[in-house]
Subunit: 296 residues, 2 copies
Amino acid sequence: MNSGSSKKEEKEFLKNYDRSAWPAPSLTADIAVFSLMQEEGDTYRRDPENKLKLLMIQRGGHPYKGLWALPGGFCRENESIDETASRELKEETNVSEAYLEPVGMFSERGRDPRGWIVSQAFLSLIDPADYRLHAGSDAWKAAWFDFRIEENEESKKADAQAASSERTYRILLENKEECVLSAVIRENCRCDARKETHSYQILNNEGFAFDHALIILKAFLKLRREAELSSPVLFYLLPEHFTLNQLQKVYEIVLNRPLLTANFRRKMQPFVRETEKYITGPGHRPARLFCRDFES
Amino acid sequence: MNSGSSKKEEKEFLKNYDRSAWPAPSLTADIAVFSLMQEEGDTYRRDPENKLKLLMIQRGGHPYKGLWALPGGFCRENESIDETASRELKEETNVSEAYLEPVGMFSERGRDPRGWIVSQAFLSLIDPADYRLHAGSDAWKAAWFDFRIEENEESKKADAQAASSERTYRILLENKEECVLSAVIRENCRCDARKETHSYQILNNEGFAFDHALIILKAFLKLRREAELSSPVLFYLLPEHFTLNQLQKVYEIVLNRPLLTANFRRKMQPFVRETEKYITGPGHRPARLFCRDFES
DNA sequence: CGAATAGTGTCTATGAGACAATATATC
DNA sequence: GATATATTGTCTCATAGACACTATTCG
């Protein structure tokens, strides 16, 4: 191979290359931003009515005008999709440094009535203290919704050659103005000697724009998996200093089940470092504040 | 909201919507296809010189003419990116049913000299028995490369506010015709109270087209994580019937360390079912053949 | 002091890892 | 029968879960 002439040839090729000869999809980033907030006026320390919240944007324009979508937007030339995600997050929440984790690509035909638009989904966890409410506008209005998910029994079928299982999830979002969104999604896993496929189908959709109910489900399942593995990423839902009971509450809310305090504290020990500060406010014995230990 | 008139409005909106008013990236799927093969003439049963192989395509046209790229291609309108991946896999390996798992999106600016082209990467595992060699052509030539990876010590820095760690990987691919590809990639993880970022940089690249060395690294790391968790997906590297020693060899090759037989068998017990068949050929006591148990 | 919340000690069952022992077909 | 390979048994240690216990502050 003559590298010199090849280099020149390549230059020539690139000069003549016309990417637009082929149709191309538009690319968006959609972000499921979770946070954890206390209800107004709740001052109990032990059992604060903390709720898992999801940020949604009410669409001011078509399509799906008036319905609720995840924050997000189109990827621009000269930026990577991760940059799109953090730019959009910053624009819509004013949070400039946030935990962002890719969830997957959504590219099913017909997912956007405007045409061929694919989306890279992200999961984001933010400390509500960092969030600054953005003034609403005609174009969009942001709101935090209480997030709840119901999961039904898994039904399994299996023979010697293959196995398949099915389950359905119901996502429920509600906010103060009694606005309720809900969606039912069926998950199907099939597995044989050659391959494994997971498919998802939106059976019912009330109030969600696009396929965002599905994106939310996948993002939450990812979050829950992290919680199951006791991953320290859930720390991002809390401020820098926190009590171990607050931390435990976070995991309990995401996992939707109570945990045993002694065991939880042992498991988190490698990730936290105690400070000399204590929580203040009404109540009985004040709890020590901890922060994440980065030296572990 | 007047739903009837809104519906009509939306229709009008969609009729006038011109997606092409904004530039859009081309979208490709790139697939890291791993397989496991014995060297010719190797008939030992206990210690077959099995090697982890990666399928690469030599580029027949510009750009990167003559260099080696992952199999893959452009996403077409009316297909999802997963469909692109399985179509391309079928075209290039003749394997129509294969394990495919998304690895992530690659969208860094400048990753493709032809312009704004983003890629969704996939990991695929196939049983070599299913693979049918495709005749090479001017446009492309496919070849299996022995896959090897070297990993250096992790270097960590941490203080009270943040932690960062760095390590480098060296990927080495070689095939019978003494063609050697190699690349060195630096991985950087940074973690503070607000976020966590992982960045990768190709320090050295010999023979790989595009950023495919990086895609290969990420796909392999995903595969290795599955092996560490004793996930049964590695079964897809083997034929339907296999001995437990063969299975163990698969995990040992991916993990690059020996495993203890008794423990390995116990761990795999839930996923396998014994058959009445035994392996044939030269050697001593023949081993029982197992298959995957789907009823577990 | 009593109540409430914070935080720890300890028993047990389970599973991972190391290694020894047994089983069985071929040479 | 010796040998190589296949397969199983068992000991130890680490960890997860359950639950009882102690500690500390406020009312």
